[in-house]
């Protein structure tokens, strides 16, 4: 039981860190420019496909990851310059419609280019096996993802919390007009943030590729989770996104793993087998509703 718990806790941490990579870009785009980007999940999907394609072409996972992420960043730059710039000043409805259109286009374009079947992305050979931690085995690749996630999260935290650019970003998130009035080029800053967010998305997609299937529609479900994360954390707050990701990642993973067992101990088998999976799936939404009830602005509101 303890082993299961430890293993699931590590899985939760790993999932949470990947969610953070997704949520970080989303929360900044949302926080600074007040722009709802439903296509954020599509960028994650496209990133995963680019990584898979590049890894296959170069026959190396790491080269593929680098090339794929760079490719996604270029795509993000083009999208920002051509479309998103026009959307910032529009209302939320237009943003939803436009980014919903992007989802349709991205899903179908991926289907045209790579086909409807999921694409395989293999982890590097050196990391394919499990390693022994204490008295149980854990996949080496997942450990590397955790390390990678921690590293990126740490760098991002330093960048946003300690650097000058990070200060501009935080200023932009808390009061855009004032930041502009102080002579910061918010528009250029935002292009950079958007591109950076896209790269993080693609990084998450590429890293998760070997664990999940790289397939059409993989972005939509994860997008909702990323939204839950930034709502829990407070829109525009990087710290909130990190805390929210870890909460959502571990609650979701542990809930799915432990709730059915727990319910079976408390309820008749029949009721438990129906209720268990349902409750595990809706746990994070209940959590979000609960947090919003007590903290309507999320845990770390960016706008004071």
């Amino acid at each position: 039981m303890l082993q299961l718990f430890l293993e699931q806790a590590l899985n939760g941490l790993q999932f949470g860190l990947m969610l953070f990579l997704l949520a970080a870009g989303l929360t900044l785009v949302f926080g600074i420019m007040d722009c709802i980007n439903l296509a954020h999940g599509s960028l994650y999907m496209v990133g995963a496909y680019l990584v898979a394609a590049a890894a296959q072409a170069a026959d190396s996972f790491w080269i593929g990851l680098g090339v794929g992420v760079a490719g996604a960043a270029v795509l993000g730059l083009l999208l920002e310059l051509s479309l998103f710039r026009q959307l910032y000043k529009r209302d939320h409805l237009s943003q939803v419609l436009a980014t919903f259109a992007l989802i349709l286009i991205a899903n179908e374009a991926v289907r045209v280019i790579w086909g409807a079947q999921p694409v395989m992305l293999n982890p590097p050979d050196a990391l394919a096996g499990p390693v022994e931690i204490g008295d149980f085995f854990y996949p080496a690749y997942r450990l590397v993802i955790i390390a990678f996630g921690l590293l990126v999260a740490g760098l991002l935290y330093l960048l946003v919390a300690k650097s000058r650019v990070g200060m501009w970003v935080r200023a932009g998130a808390s009061n855009r007009e004032m930041t502009e009035a102080l002579g910061i080029n918010v528009r250029a800053l935002f292009t950079a943030v958007f591109v950076f967010g896209t790269a993080l998305c693609a990084l998450a997609g590429g890293l998760l590729g070997p664990l999940l299937a790289v397939q059409v529609g993989m972005g939509e479900s994860v997008l909702i989770l990323a939204f839950v994360v930034i709502i829990i954390g407070g829109i525009g707050s990087i710290r909130g996104a990190l805390v929210g990701s870890l909460i959502v990642g571990s609650v979701d993973t542990l809930g799915r793993a432990l709730l059915p067992t727990l319910l079976r101990a408390l309820l008749p088998a029949d009721a438990a087998s129906t209720l268990g999976p349902a409750l595990a799936s809706i746990l994070i939404y209940l959590l979000m509703a609960g947090i919003l009830f007590f903290k309507p602005q999320g845990l770390f509101p960016a706008r004071a």
């Binding site: 529009r90 419609l97 286009i105 009830f293």
Partner: protein, 315 residues
């Protein structure tokens, strides 16, 4: 946004539309295109669903991404009614409206305490919950959805005939539009639009803002439930996919294309989007790309929707 006022030419246009729609199935049958009666029914049903969203979003100003939940609850209620042996639409449809409306009342009572983006997200969260509940409820078909063994009867007349179902949907949409038109121009409609424009002021004037919003939200949910029950009869299935957030997205897209806050916005949008689909499918299997590009074009060049291109709103 300006206030809704019925346009002077509205009545004659509406009567002409009614006549055309009433004659449509017979016309289609006469030219041997009876296949399209099913398609026309789909358009009417989605017009009803998008109109119910228009009540909530266009008139009430509540940006909900959870409307699919009420649509889906309506479909599931119809299927569950049939499973329980109630095959009469006159009982099942009102039950679907009550179930969807009651669910909307609960969701609204909790969600309407939040504002803006948080409201969008919390309504989305409720849709996701409903979806996962439907997927894991094995007695209701789980992943596969709950099929209907056959179409229901309406006042004893079987809806198995496509034309009969068409007229059921036609009747539902007509009554809804009449009700919606009256409501929008009545005191309730004025108040709800005023709250959309300036909530603080209406609060200060002593209007129970929360209650008005909640009633509007629940009404929209109940009408979506009716659309869901009709759709379950058309497709013969209450599918969990109806509860997915992308379904909310589709309804939103219809409404935005048609024109948010215009009486016919939802209906026009449903007609345009479904016809576009139908036409594009014939040209290319990858019609989603074309549809996406068209939607982008609408956002960039016709931001107020198609209904706004014809005539200005009075007010």
């Amino acid at each position: 946004m300006a206030f809704y006022r019925p346009a002077p030419y509205q009545k004659p246009v509406a009567i002409a539309l009614l006549l055309v729609l009433a004659a449509l199935p017979f016309g289609l049958a006469a030219v041997d295109q009876a296949f399209y009666i099913g398609f026309a029914t789909r358009v009417l049903i989605f017009a009803l669903a998008a109109t119910s969203l228009n009540l909530v979003l266009g008139f009430g100003g509540m940006f909900s991404l959870g409307h699919a939940a009420f649509f889906g609850v309506g479909a599931y209620t119809a299927a569950i009614c049939q499973q329980a042996g109630i095959n009469e639409a006159l009982i099942a449809f009102p039950l679907a409206m009550i179930a969807a409306g009651a669910f909307a009342l609960v969701v609204g009572a909790i969600s309407l305490r939040t504002r803006g983006v948080y409201f969008i997200m919390i309504t989305l969260a409720f849709t996701q919950m409903a979806y996962y509940l439907a997927v894991s409820a094995r007695s209701w078909g789980g992943d596969d959805g709950l099929p209907l063994v056959g179409r229901m009867t309406l006042a004893g007349v079987s809806l198995a005939d496509d034309t009969h179902l068409y007229f059921a949907a036609f009747f539902g949409l007509t009554v809804t539009m009449l009700f919606f038109g009256r409501l929008a121009d009545a005191r309730f409609g004025r108040v709800i639009q005023a709250i959309r424009e300036n909530e603080t002021r209406m609060e200060a004037l002593g209007y129970p803002v929360f209650t008005y919003r909640l009633v509007c939200f629940a009404l929209g949910g109940a009408l979506a439930g009716l659309a869901g029950a009709l759709l379950a009869n058309l497709t013969g299935l209450a599918s969990p996919n109806l509860l997915l957030w992308t379904q909310s997205g589709t309804l939103l897209v219809m409404l935005i294309i048609g024109g948010v806050g215009y009486l016919y916005g939802g209906a026009v949008g449903a007609l345009i989007l479904l016809c576009l689909e139908e036409v594009l499918v014939g040209f290319t299997p990858h019609w989603h790309i074309v549809l996406g590009l068209i939607l982008l074009g609408v956002v960039l060049f016709a931001p107020k929707g198609v209904a706004a291109l014809f005539g200005k709103r009075h007010g």
